[in-house]
């Protein structure tokens, strides 16, 4: 029998390809698959081509990239903090980015230039990282980092609530609230150009730390005695999460649960070591978020459903199911 871990990659690759194809193929305007291919190849109806290339393609690319970043950072953080409940929001990075974006919306910077909101979100993520590093100090214990992360996340959350509270009119509050729900609607290649470099940097910083994360299975002393430079590992991890997740949240808004559930879903199909989860979680996150974004378009609703709402609804049952299984296992 082929071990479960060998079957994981083919399944993930198929899932990612299917998700990408569906994301490009499905939308409000029905375009048959043949014409989709023609339009992508540069022929066919100019309107269909515009819909595909300027609306659906960036949306699919962002879905894959943001999902991959969230899945990967969830897996890396769970490994680093040795806590299966960790996800990007644990370190306050998502909230920090969201606060940056909300500030941009609140002061109307977002209308002033289309890049202002994502830039503010990335600045927010980096600022929250700086505060986190100050609060956590040099201690290597995961608990200090989690506590500092909760503090940073809570302050950012309070800032977001304050912005909603003080919004000059209901429309401004609506704008903030709907951004906070997370969405990939109406994103262009400008957004792709903003998010992709950040996400690529985040992936580069996180994806090659597998060995250090594995060594941390033995605790900090055990890992250090195996030759791991813990301070460097931690700096790389924090920077990777802040830059990558900051870039992702900047274009998609706050999308929860992907970073939490993807590593959980995939762990039983690996040897359960943190390194074995990094790349699969990136692929799994890409597939999950893109499929959720397809679901948003397919589910009939008066207002288009927001992506963050769908991932939350998807996430909870999956998580509960796994909780049930883990309780028997551990």
């Amino acid at each position: 029998m082929i071990p479960r871990s060998r079957r994981l990659w083919p399944v993930l690759i198929v899932l990612v390809l299917v998700a990408a194809a569906l994301s490009v193929g499905i939308g409000t305007a029905a375009i048959p698959p043949g014409r989709v291919l023609a339009a992508l190849a540069g022929h066919g109806d100019p309107i269909e081509r515009a819909i595909l290339v300027e609306l659906r393609l960036p949306r699919a690319v962002l879905g894959l990239a943001v999902g991959a970043m969230l899945g990967l950072s969830g897996a890396a953080l769970q490994g680093y903090l040795r806590n299966p409940l960790a996800e990007p929001s644990v370190l306050g990075a998502s909230n920090g980015a969201a606060l940056g974006a909300v500030i941009a919306l609140y002061f109307g910077l977002a209308q002033w230039h289309p890049a202002a909101l994502p830039a503010a979100a990335i600045a927010g993520a980096l600022a929250s990282l700086a505060v986190l590093a100050l609060l956590a100090g040099r201690a290597e214990s995961p608990l200090t980092l989690i506590l500092a992360g909760i503090a940073v996340g809570t302050v950012s959350g309070a800032g977001i609530s304050l912005a909603l509270n003080l919004s000059p009119n209901p429309f401004a509050a609506m704008e903030i609230a709907s951004w906070l729900l997370g969405s990939l609607e109406d994103r262009s290649f400008r957004h792709v150009a903003l998010a992709l470099p950040c996400i690529a940097a985040g992936v580069a910083l996180l994806a090659f730390d597998g060995r250090a994360l594995d060594a941390l299975t033995l605790g900090e002393d055990g890992a250090a005695a195996l030759g791991i430079d813990l301070a460097r590992t931690r700096t790389r991890l924090l920077l990777g999460v802040a830059i990558g997740v900051g870039g992702a949240v900047a274009v998609s808004g706050a999308i929860g649960f992907v970073g939490l559930i993807v590593p959980h879903l995939l762990r039983p199909f690996t040897d359960r070591s943190p390194s074995a989860l990094l790349w699969p979680s990136a692929a799994g996150g890409a597939a999950l978020l893109t499929l959720a974004d397809v679901a948003v378009r397919v589910i009939p609703a008066t207002n288009e459903l927001k992506l963050g709402v769908v991932t939350a609804f998807l996430g909870v049952p999956v998580f509960l199911l796994h909780l049930k299984r883990e309780r028997r296992l551990w």
Binding site: A215, L216, T217, A225, S273, W330
Partner: protein
């Protein structure tokens, strides 16, 4: 052979002097560290490995530990930490394979030599049959043996083991000491924190005794384990036997 030398080594944790002015030179052979709970044994070995901020100096083969990279030190000295931490339900074999990390180049995968080292270590620690079991589901004693195998898999010329016998049954305690003895006989520098006085007396070449952060005795087991020392350090009386060598704790003095 690896020589580990500390000079006026001191560690202060939370305002308390946990290790104070320890100067010692440890070479080949099996050296045991004894002492009551809280005497600073674990902190001393962590300081020797540069895992805790310390004053004074530690040199490994006449090279300051502070100037060595963690990777170099990891290949020179294998370390079995106290507490049997295992954070993910990886298989026992996968856990032992972690011992090969110091030998892997960047982005390379464990090769046949690494797998052979893992098999050797698991055979020596008698944990072959546990290979596929999740490490988190093992009993305390089984896990202790798997973690000892993990430290052996490094195949470093020196081994520092912090309470390697904790939660082992009597047979495996003897086996644990035999393993350390074999390593030492093969020329390795072995340093082990121990609590069992008889096993320490029977197997070790040299004993260090810590009390209140200080090194209070250092020498051959016969010279170190005296009724006076047991009284002063542990506050107990002991029953001593010569053949076989026995040191059995009898009564509390205080």
């Amino acid at each position: 052979m690896v020589t580990i030398a500390a000079d006026a080594l001191a560690v202060t944790l939370g305002g308390r002097d946990v290790v104070a002015g320890v100067s010692v030179r440890i070479g080949a052979g099996l050296t045991g560290i004894l002492g009551p709970n809280g005497a600073g044994k674990s902190t001393l070995v962590r300081a020797l490995l540069g895992l805790v901020p310390s004053r004074g100096s530690v040199r490994v083969d006449d090279e300051p530990v502070a100037a060595m990279s963690r990777a170099t030190l990891a290949r020179r000295i294998a370390y079995l930490p106290q507490g049997q931490a295992v954070h993910w339900p990886v298989s026992a074999e996968r856990l032992v394979m972690l011992g090969r990390l110091p030998h892997l180049g960047p982005l390379s995968h464990p090769g046949e030599a690494d797998r052979a080292a893992v098999r050797r270590a698991m055979t020596v620690a008698e944990v072959d049959h546990l290979a596929d079991r999740p490490a988190t589901e093992l009993s305390g004693g089984e896990r202790a043996r798997v973690l000892l195998a993990r430290a052996l898999a490094v195949e470093a010329p020196a081994l520092i083991a912090d309470e390697p016998l904790a939660s082992l049954d009597p047979a495996h305690q003897i086996r644990g000491m035999e393993i350390l003895r074999t390593q030492a006989d093969a020329g390795a520098t072995v340093l082990a924190v121990l609590h069992d006085l008889t096993l320490a007396a029977r197997f070790c070449d040299r004993l260090l005794v810590m009390d209140g952060g200080r090194l209070v005795a250092d020498g051959a087991p016969d010279a170190v384990l005296t009724p006076e020392l047991l009284g002063a350090v542990y506050g107990i009386t002991g029953w001593f036997g010569d053949d076989p060598r026995l040191v059995v704790p009898m009564h509390r003095l205080r």
